[in-house]
Symmetry: C2
Subunit: 134 residues, 2 copies
DNA sequence: TATTGTTATACTCTATAACTATA
DNA sequence: TATAGTTATAGAGTATAACAATA
């Protein structure tokens, strides 16, 4: 029973991930780049904070931001209070892309799961909530 | 409302993925290698089938199996009916590792989610099931 | 001294294209 | 001809270690 529960959760995770990966790939973005786009929508973290969020080393994030910066999606700016730190944020182009892609995510996941019906959705959120404390 | 639902589902997916990635990394396995280990527990697919399952190109799977084979976790064997095809399966060592790691996954995800209580778990599976048709 | 970020290096993952063997 | 798999190649993602700038 416990096992069936965990399998269902893992399968559901792979399925959601696969949708996100596909939408990213269609726009030449890795899953990680897509995540960064999502994170930066309402934040302006320094490199170390971003790395902690993603569970990556800061050197890996340096590379990620390098490539996104070359594509004009993100930018860096020295933090004015601590001049060792570098803030990362979306350019207007990056923000546009983020908005568009997350609308695609809703479109892709919505119908599949919309079949649940609003009432079931509410119950699902209630059930998932305790698992969301990171 | 719909948005909150989708955010919860995506966050839950990232969280599950992060647990799987950590357990894999602690054993020098990528998330993909861990997935393959899981798939091969009860299957003996040919390379093309495995690629379809993972959503990867067959050349990528060739490399994955190469590296797992070098570590003694998987093995290849020519299919006797279609001699173009190659079956992939776990070695005894691979099977042992798979059993151990998936027990770790249950241990890691169980308590977090065990807090839900058995009754909520049953309801959650019922809710997730419609999303599991791949 | 400690922290922040970058760079150098090496390996894995992945896709595309070209190839071999079999159907 | 078409399909199954491998190999060659190239780029992204990642970690570790060494480094420069700032605290």
């Amino acid at each position: 029973m416990q096992d069936a529960f965990i399998d269902a959760l893992v399968q559901s995770a792979f399925q959601v991930t696969s949708v996100l990966t596909r939408i990213g790939a269609e726009n030449d973005l890795s899953l990680t780049q897509l995540r960064v786009l999502g994170i930066l929508r309402d934040r302006r973290p320094r490199v170390t904070e971003l790395a902690a969020h993603l569970g990556l080393e800061k050197s890996s994030v340096s590379g990620l931001v390098d490539r996104a910066e070359q594509r004009g999606l993100m930018a860096r700016e020295k933090n004015s209070e601590d001049r060792r730190a570098v803030d990362v944020f979306l350019t207007p182009a990056g923000r546009e892309l983020a908005v568009r892609l997350f609308s695609e995510v809703r479109t892709a996941l919505g119908p599949t799961l919309g079949a649940l019906g609003t009432e079931r959705q509410i119950r699902l959120i209630e059930l998932l909530e305790p698992t969301l404390d990171v």
